[in-house]
């Protein structure tokens, strides 16, 4: 529930354009554009940031770009 909580907007670091809305104290949020689920932390009670991704599938290594 977002009642009484402040809203903060983050930029998705996966689709690099979509904006994610979080509310004070949220510890996770999903980008509605690309579906990436993120761990959220709070720098101050008013300022949030993405801390890292929540890995929901297996590891997705590609081939080295040097081949």
């Amino acid at each position: 529930m977002s009642v009484g909580k402040k809203e903060y907007t983050l930029r998705c670091m996966r689709c690099l354009g979509g904006r994610i809305t979080v509310f004070t104290g949220d510890s996770a949020a999903r980008c509605s554009h690309c579906g990436q689920n993120w761990r959220i932390s709070w720098v101050t009670p008013e300022v949030a940031k993405i801390r890292g991704r929540i890995i929901e599938g297996g590891r997705k290594d590609g081939a080295s770009s040097h081949n």
């Binding site: 930029r11 690099l16 720098v43 300022v47 940031k49 890292g52 590609g62 080295s64 770009s65 040097h66």
Partner: protein
Amino acid sequence: MERLAIIDLSSEQVECKDIPENVQRMYLGGEGLNAYLLYNHLSPGVDPLSPENVLIFGAGLISGCDVSSSRFEVTSKSAEGEGGFGTSNSGGFWSAELKYAGFQHLLIKGKASRPTYLWIHDGEIEFRDASFLWGHDTYESLELILDDLGDQNVQVAMIGQAGENLVRFANIMHGLKRAAGRTGMGCIMGSKLLKAIVVRGKQGLKVNDPEKLLDIFTSHRSQIMSTKIYPVISRYGTLTIFCVQNQSGMISVKNNQFNYFEEAEGRLDDEIFEEQYKTKSLACYACPLRCSHRYRIRSGPYAGVWGEGPEFYMMAGFGPAVGNADWDCILAANTLINRYGLDVGSTSGYIAWLMELWQRGIIDDKDTGGLNLDWGNKETILTLIHQMAKNEGLGGMIGQKASRAAVVIGKDSARYLYTQRGMMHESPENTRASRATTLAAATSSRGSDHLKGRCALEFYAMPPEVLAKIYGKPIASDFRSWEGKAWMAVWTQHFTTVVDSLGYCKFATIWPGSTHNLNYKQFCETIKAVKGWDVTPEELMETGERIWNLERMFIERETGILREGDIPPSVYFTPQPLEPLKGEKIDRAEYEKRLDEYYEIRGWTREGAPTAGTLKRLKLDGEPSHLL
């Protein structure tokens, strides 16, 4: 009137000159006036490590006056790479103290007959024996100097053993972590047997309108502290960039083989650093950002190791770039790097290169002296740092040869070495998906330079109308688009050059992507209060362009490498392997087309040389003018 001291280490003579106002208005101070002095005082074709090379220190024009303006620039003919334009920039307290001591610029020539340090205080310059400092690292040297002078408030710029041993990518260090890095300015200082420059002044600063300056200082401080980036930077410093770069797939992993480092999840981030290692925050002179840290490793094999920093570059360069996800190792490496006075980007870049050569079987344990170069091998990482600084073993060879090490190793080693203008590509950078940043970094004067090339506003998908308002021309919101990006690169290069000539920290300006931070308008306000000059943003932009072109003239004169030096490392033309930027690369033909556009905007030939008309427009057609 600001003063220049010309210091001859060979004869131990000093000549002081007032800096004419017309020269200041054309080149400001810091980087700009350093470039002018280098072009005018260095004879063409001189070996960078010879006594004939000059080493120039310059405080910014307004260093010590405004908020977040305490940076200084060190400039010379480069020791790393092709002997081009060498320059580097550091924060701290040194530049303000130099001004209080009565000088804005120092031009050092010749070579001392014994290890020497300079003691500059209240208009006086003394040559002092530094034999007791030679062989000591920067932490030890700092303590010894404070004891020798009996003054805990002096500010010190110095070299560690890396500079003494002429490592091509040695830094000049200030305090415990501030570094004038890249292009081997510490190597040049070591070649002159100059261990340190110590400054202390009580002369104060003469400014045109002190009351107005105080108002401006207060206003600029509030402006910086009201931005969204402020609480993040003031708590985590540049470490916070790591998450952005890694999650966006713009980081170098294992020598640019990959662009996202999954091992970092839950192990390497700014908050873990704060929780487990950080002991305090630190700031440069008169800066509210306080983006630096002091840390201590509390347990494990490196328990008790302490130091200052680290920056994003350390975290990424000794993290993903070398396949390491261990904070302890990164911090132990950070302390070593700072004590020895080595450059982070080059040191980690060469270690990453060697590890890829090991991975591919191009070198084996006979080449490495028994070292195991598996990715993330912590002891090997630290051993190679020791070797580079002390000129021992495989690391020593790398430190002495730099990019020419590929000739020594031979086989297919050069294929995996990413350099520009002969200088190691900044190891953490893997921004090939962003067009303006790639172009601006690749065309920068020293080569591969994110401090001139990072067009941070490119990354934020900002509305076109906002970008047009800032840059004055249409710029595409998508960082993968080339539309308007040649102009964005030019604009950013001029802006960062003005910032480095005034002495501001880039993180107090709009450069890191905060549109509400200081911009040309605020710079003009400060210049008016400090110097009494009525300067417009347009005039400052042209000043940035003038300085940029003078640096290009130096590069043309000393190396002749123009267009071929403006090409990013070969790996930028190969596709990124991992999401979210999988498949992204720079198309070579498109890059060449955009380089043509960039040259056209600049008024340069297709080969990348300023035309006679451009030099005349910028009042550079009379250089070298020997006005100072």
